[in-house]
Amino acid sequence: MVVLAPLVGAVLTPIVARRDRRIAQWWALGIMTVTSVAAVALMVRVTEEGPFSYYLGGWVPPIGIEFRFDEVSAFIGIVCLVGWLAILYSFRYTEWLRGLEKPRIPYYYTLLLLNLAGLIGISITGDLFNFFVFLEIISLSGYALVAVSGERIAEMAAFKYLLIGAVSSLLVLLAIGLIYALTGSLNMADISARLGGAATRPLGVAIGAFTVGFMVKAALFPLHIWLPDAHAIAPSPVSAVLSGLVVKVGIIGMLRVYQIVYGSGSMNLDGLNQVLMWLGAISIIIGAFFAIFQDDIKMMLAYSTISNIGYIVMGLGLASQYGLIGASIHVFNHALIKATLFLGAGCLIYRTGKRTLTELAGVGRSMPWTAAAMSIGAISIVGIPPTAGFLCKWYIALGAVQAGQTFFAFALVFGALFIFIYYIRMVNAFYFRPPADPEILAVKEAPPSMLVPVLLLAALCLIMGVLGRLPLTFIEPAVTRLLSGMGGG
């Protein structure tokens, strides 16, 4: 199973490569390659046959742990892609990190692999408690990875992340406990079947706790305060994983809860949807608003993640076919785009040692490939065609119209304009501003092991814009199933 490879691999990393960091990095990359191959095989199978399950240890649910691979689980595809590239990228980046002593580098790969294993596990588990375990794996390794950078406020950022993250985990645990009390089961499919006759009030509390907990993980306004520091301070490959993938855990959690509740038809979630739509819209605006005032490039990217989560949550809240499709595509595409941007920013910081836009002025002349890739990322995230971001904007706006909420289409489209304001500052700084420091013209382009991931991701941003149908093969059946459940309830 895909989840075992990185999990076991992660635990073994320090043992295999106690002394030599080179072995550690190739080991990590190898593990990730194996995982990716397995993931692709699974994804092919799910497109051909539909969802299927694997029972751990042969125990049949609801007693045993079920791993269920359905279309939502196709998230692991992007996890593997970004994870693989982030590991490759880390080869050079970790050597340079101040906070990371050389002998400790294997532990860094351990944490990164653990994090990725958690991400894969959480998308394929069919068991709520198991879900929680993976959630904790992700969170704990995330805290440590943030602290690893050795920046001045790294510990502080990690601590803030830890504190808020722990509270949210508790909420999720509480919700799981409530659900268990209501149904006597932890298996998602089983819960869904048993939930029919459950009392509404405790279920409402459980859903509320789930929502709040997951919204913290997803950094939705007003629960976003932990994110900017943590994502900006973390080492760039980690930022890419955190921003591109880890925040999506909250979204996946929401999707699973929706699946359960809609499947059971026991509750009407229209009220929640209303709240989500509004919070999504506010997140878009607030994220963009704060990003405008950032001079630190990674800080800016971190706030932009909040805006983009706003897109996704708005799409979820709209609960119309196109809205959900848009939200799901954005889970994929945002991971691609944000990874491009964070890894690109990492290249710039690696070569120049500078991280504010003012100081980076003129860098487009000396690092043309990185700057070009980041510009593509910027255009993509604003949603200008023909890039990946446009499709999401298109679908979510269409979903808003479909749901009869034209106002939200309006908010979305103009929120994107707001976002453009600060990305154009970045592009201007790269290309059209005189260098603040003449030395910046002398820096070299990033080394290949860092540049290739960035360029590959940027190319994908463009390709996904044109071949936007590709993720739809996974998304459409899932959305249809979800909506048919909703129709039943």
Binding site: I384, A397, L398, V413, F414, F420, N428, F432, L472
Partner: protein, 491 residues
């Protein structure tokens, strides 16, 4: 008759490839010129090779990629699209020649020519767009590609103009996107191949809101007042950019979008019933007069040209919003007439600036002695704007007035008359000063600009005359415009 033909994709693709090659050619001047010129020529050949078919009524289509069923990147060269594409491709060739001469010795030429080619690629993409989504895709890309051209000089003033440009046009783009989404939500299709896809069932209020969305969105680029103020600011760009982009590509894409909205999204019959176009016509008429009045008081040559552009663009909008066949004819042919006359003027302004450093109108006394050919070309363009018969501008005014009478709006004729008068007030004094006033400097000798600057100027001026006298000759652009109008009105 519809024919699958890859040429509609090749036409925009040629310039896209050209842009890639220009970026790849680093600082090698020869290759950059070679790629730019040959791409311009090939593109023109491709489009011209489709022209005979188009005149016979053949529509070339090609579906490239499907996003979702019913919405995808699809190209379709109908008469209106062919007309616009032929105009932009022709002008691209001339502007490229001109730009090579004009930009000699300037920094960042690779960036300049690369984005220049991208802009033309997107303009042709807009004209061949089969559906609103494809159109929007190229419309937005055009905005992004022109930004580096507008701020080419990288001065604080240019950066400020660039910001303003982006703020206006991207907001416009957002409105277009919103409109497109609503269209799709209402009809489940976005095709531009029908004479109207909306129907009254959608409700008056929705249709009104949608109309405002789409027209305001495209109106930003078409510089309808009060959405025009980015255009004069953007004149800080190098002259070939102003010429091609701000007299032809960018602004015409806006006007073209409005034509598509009126003729292919709403349809003439529906709009006639709804009556929204009356408001648009009044707005356009106001823009025509007001922009002309402002132009009179501009001393900077390029700014005067900018306000003249604003005024001229509204001819197109006015013609389209009359909803009569003659009005439509005027709107379509003015896409070409305005383009050729205005680009001539921009070429002249650029040549004078390069040769003598003069940028204001009052310095032009006696310039006709020094640059007689250049100023002769200017005179042709000026007479065309005034609407003297035998020049292209007259054709527009004639049909526009007829269209106004057809729509029983007699005031359109009045607007045409006043506008001609105002055009005379701000163009003819320049002609007079150039040829009949004594030059300021003592030495008078003929000192024309290079052939790279002069030839495109003269050829464009020649076109203005040709368009003016060949209206009834079959096979000329005018017949293509007629074909477009006949389709729209179901004649």
């Amino acid at each position: 008759m519809e024919v699958q033909d890859i040429r509609v994709v090749l036409a925009p693709a040629v310039s896209l490839l050209c842009a890639a090659l220009v970026f790849a050619s680093a600082e090698r001047t020869f290759w950059r010129r070679f790629f730019s010129l040959s791409a311009a020529a090939i593109k023109l050949l491709i489009i011209m090779s489709m022209l005979p078919g188009s005149l016979r009524g053949v529509v070339y289509v090609y579906d490239l990629v499907q996003f979702t069923p019913g919405v995808g990147l699809a190209f379709r060269a109908d008469a209106l699209g062919m007309f616009f594409a032929a105009v932009s491709a022709t002008l691209w060739l001339f502007t490229t020649i001109y730009a090579i001469g004009y930009m000699e010795g300037e920094p960042h030429r690779r960036r300049f020519f690369g984005f220049f080619a991208l802009c033309v690629s997107t303009t042709v993409g807009v004209s061949f767009a089969e559906n609103l989504l494809t159109l929007f895709l190229f419309y937005e890309t055009l905005t992004i590609c022109t930004y580096p051209l507008v701020i080419h000089d990288e001065t604080p003033e240019a950066m400020k103009a660039g910001r303003k440009y982006l703020a206006y046009t991207l907001t416009g783009g957002a409105f277009v996107l919103l409109g497109s989404v609503i269209v799709y939500g209402l009809t489940g299709t976005m095709t531009l191949s029908q004479p109207g896809i909306l129907s009254l069932e959608s409700g008056r209020v929705t249709l009104a809101a949608l109309f405002v969305c789409l027209i305001a969105g495209f109106g930003v680029k078409a510089a309808i007042m009060p959405l025009h103020s980015w255009l004069p600011s953007a004149m800080v760009a190098p002259t070939p950019v102003s010429a091609l982009l701000h007299a032809v590509a960018v602004v015409k894409v806006g006007a073209f979008g409005i034509l598509r909205v009126i003729y292919n999204i709403y349809g003439v019959e529906l709009l006639d019933e709804l009556g929204f176009c009356d408001y648009l016509a009044v707005l356009a008429a106001f823009t025509i007069i007001a922009a002309s009045v402002i132009a009179i008081f501009q001393d900077n040559f390029k700014r005067r040209l900018a306000f003249s552009t604003i005024s001229q663009l509204s001819y197109i909008v006015l013609g389209a919003s009359l909803l009569t066949p003659y009005g439509a004819t005027a709107a379509v042919v003015h896409l070409a007439n305005q383009a050729f006359a205005k680009i001539t003027m921009f070429f002249v302004a650029g040549s004078i600036q390069r040769k003598t450093g003069k940028t204001t109108v009052h310095e032009l006394a006696g310039i006709g002695y020094r640059m007689p050919y250049t100023m002769a070309a200017f005179t042709v363009a000026a007479l065309s704007f005034v609407g003297v018969p035998l020049f292209a501008g007259f054709v527009t005014k004639w049909y526009l007035s007829l269209g106004g009478l057809q729509a029983e709006k007699w005031w359109v004729v009045l607007v045409m008359l006043v506008s001609s008068l105002l055009n005379a007030v701000y163009w003819l004094p320049i002609v007079y000063a150039a040829f009949f006033k004594a030059p300021a400097d003592a030495v008078v000798e003929v000192h024309e600009s290079n052939w790279t600057l002069l030839v495109p100027t003269l050829v464009c001026a020649a076109y203005v005359i040709v368009f003016g006298i060949t209206v009834t000759v079959p096979g000329m652009p005018f017949s293509l415009a007629n074909a477009a109008v006949e389709f729209v009105f179901g004649m």
